[in-house]
Amino acid sequence: MSTPNTVQTFAPRTMFEKVWDAHVVAEPVGEPSIIYIDLQLVHEVTSPQAFDGLRLAGRKLRRPDRHIATVDHNVPTTSVHDRLFIVDKIANAQINALRKNCAEFGIELFDTEDANQGIVHMIGPELGATKPGMTIVCGDSHTSTHGAFGALAFGIGTSEVEHVMATQTLPQDKPKTFRINVEGELPYGVTAKDIILHIIGQIGTDGATGSVIEYAGSAIRALSMEGRMTVCNMSIEAGARAGMIAPDETTFAYLKGRRFVPQGEAFDLAVEQWRALVTDEGATFDREMHIDAATLAPSVTWGTSPGMVTTITGTVPVLEDARSEADRKSFERAFEYMDLKPGMLVEDIKVDAVFVGSCTNGRIEDLRAAARVVKGYHVATTVRAMIVPGSQKVKAQAEDEGLDEVFKTAGFEWREPGCSMCLGMNPDILSPGERCASTSNRNFEGRQGRGGRTHLLSPEMAAAAAITGHLTDVREWKFDNEGAAR
């Protein structure tokens, strides 16, 4: 039995339990708890049917002020002109439906050319709409990104989107808790992306099903907010309901001064509240796992599931490595789809395309890291490479720093912000058989375009692959400037 939030308990609690308890509206007997939702993020793809549902039932939005909308999945990234005059009629109709719906129901929309437009999971943090202790949902599985701030954030389906619109709540069964401690210092050339890919490789794509993961330990503490968002973003790829990281000075410094963050005395009061969210000493988790950061290496996926992970100096597995009959079948299928020989060296895998972007790795720090690798080099003649900033803010910042020039000089395409080739809903897709080194989050069959083959990796590693034309160990990279891999 869970404890209603009106009763003060003194038992030590996890961060997740504190956030959960503070949002319980009702606990009907024999039914899921009704949880208050502080913020719903809305985009064009998973919302039109929800708005229609409201209209059919004659319902309004209970709290339009707790909704923010943007366009990201469908928008072309080729040019401002192409975004204003979208050729794809169906995509255009969906974007127009969002505009109409936001106007009708009173939701603030950050439209295509707004200075705050971007991937929905980029703009929440950038605006300071995402804060510690909040409950945040969106009709998108990568909503787990916002957990980097100590928020409880998770993806939902369209029926649930409608439910939140109508009631600002969701009926939810309480998830289990799972703490992953990553202790020690990350080796040279190893990033947040490598941590999370390693974790998914270890526990599998259903390893955390039904659980909320708390990422803890000194290696997590040492990450920037950008790195923490990368880790939490891919929690869903391990099957987790959500991922969370305790707020600390790094979090507060990131939030201070952002548009929707309290200022002055109110900020100090808010920080006081946020500090209290950390997991109490002695609180217990349903499951714990420990990882030694010093043992990690740059990770890369070889197959068609994010759990099919190896290291850059490793090999594509052989059938005998499969841990079960089901794995064996998946391996066989993946070898064929990916056109890889079992046991071959990962570094021998040649790529045709490179994509740096997405809600996983489309932030300023990711672009800086890629630019450091690229500077002084040129993209291989056999490779098509593109940089897609995750948001207008990231794009503007990168241009201020001259990163766009570094990329363009090196032969990369410099694009407008959006989800782009992460899921290929807009025109950015792979052709059948093309192989891509991608900083995104999913390597499913056809994810980046029908017949396309995806290798997930860090921005540094993607940049290096663009230059050499094959998967490359960034730890061996000869930097043309004074910089070093982060």
Binding site: G157, S159, E160, T167, R241, F444
Partner: protein, 212 residues
């Protein structure tokens, strides 16, 4: 949502683990703004010969295209069915194609929730039981299964019988075809009270101007 209880039907075997929502319905069909009309897009990349114009040519080797499995209301797959994206279009496509039940050892969380809201029974059986059923339906496409939600069982005429667990509330909603929003609004008083207090917690407000 239509009430659902006892389904007797042949079953379509799809013996693969980790069938993700990108396979269940590829992204190009997510641009539509309608809630219906997804049945033709279910398992699109597996179902059609994509090298033909307009993809009209069905792949004869894919199980859904085999005439003997047409009209089946039960789908059987391996573990972690429905992983990946949160797209409810996956549940819509499965239900609109005519499936009322999916049997697998495990399901991904968001898909599990989406299926429930679309009147689909998800029956979690053990790996062994699923393998048995996959084998039976592969060997004999006419093999009939009965799924009884009330009794929480999957049975056949040869004496196969398996029990599946389901949350009592979810079961109640499926059996009665209940709409969630209406159920939540039964607690509107509690919601009003909660919200009045919660509005003052400005550190949890999405926007600054909302703060007191």
């Amino acid at each position: 949502m239509k009430p659902i209880n006892i389904i007797t039907s042949t079953a379509v075997p799809l013996p693969l683990p980790n069938i993700d929502t990108d396979q269940i319905i590829p992204k190009q069909f997510l641009k539509r703004i309608e809630r219906t009309g997804y049945e033709d897009f279910l398992f699109y990349d597996w179902r059609y010969n994509l090298d033909t114009p307009d993809h009209v040519d069905e792949r004869k080797d894919f199980v859904l295209n085999k005439p003997e499995y047409k009209g089946s209301q039960i789908l059987i797959a391996e573990r972690n069915f429905g992983c990946g994206s949160s797209r409810e279009h996956a549940a819509w496509a499965i239900s609109q194609y005519g499936f009322l039940v999916v049997i697998a050892p495990t399901f991904a969380d968001i898909f599990y929730s989406n299926a429930g809201k679309n009147g689909i029974i998800l029956a979690r059986l053990t790996e062994e039981e699923v393998q048995t059923l996959l084998a039976k339906s592969t060997a004999n496409p006419k093999h009939l299964l009965t799924v009884n939600l009330e009794a929480q069982t999957v049975t056949d005429a040869d004496g196969f019988s398996a029990h599946f667990d389901i949350d009592p509330f979810r079961k109640h909603c499926l059996l009665n075809g209940l709409d969630d929003i209406g159920l939540t609004l039964l607690h509107e008083d509690a919601l009003d009270k909660f919200e009045a207090k919660h509005n003052d917690e400005f550190w949890l407000a999405p926007k600054k101007d909302e703060a007191a």
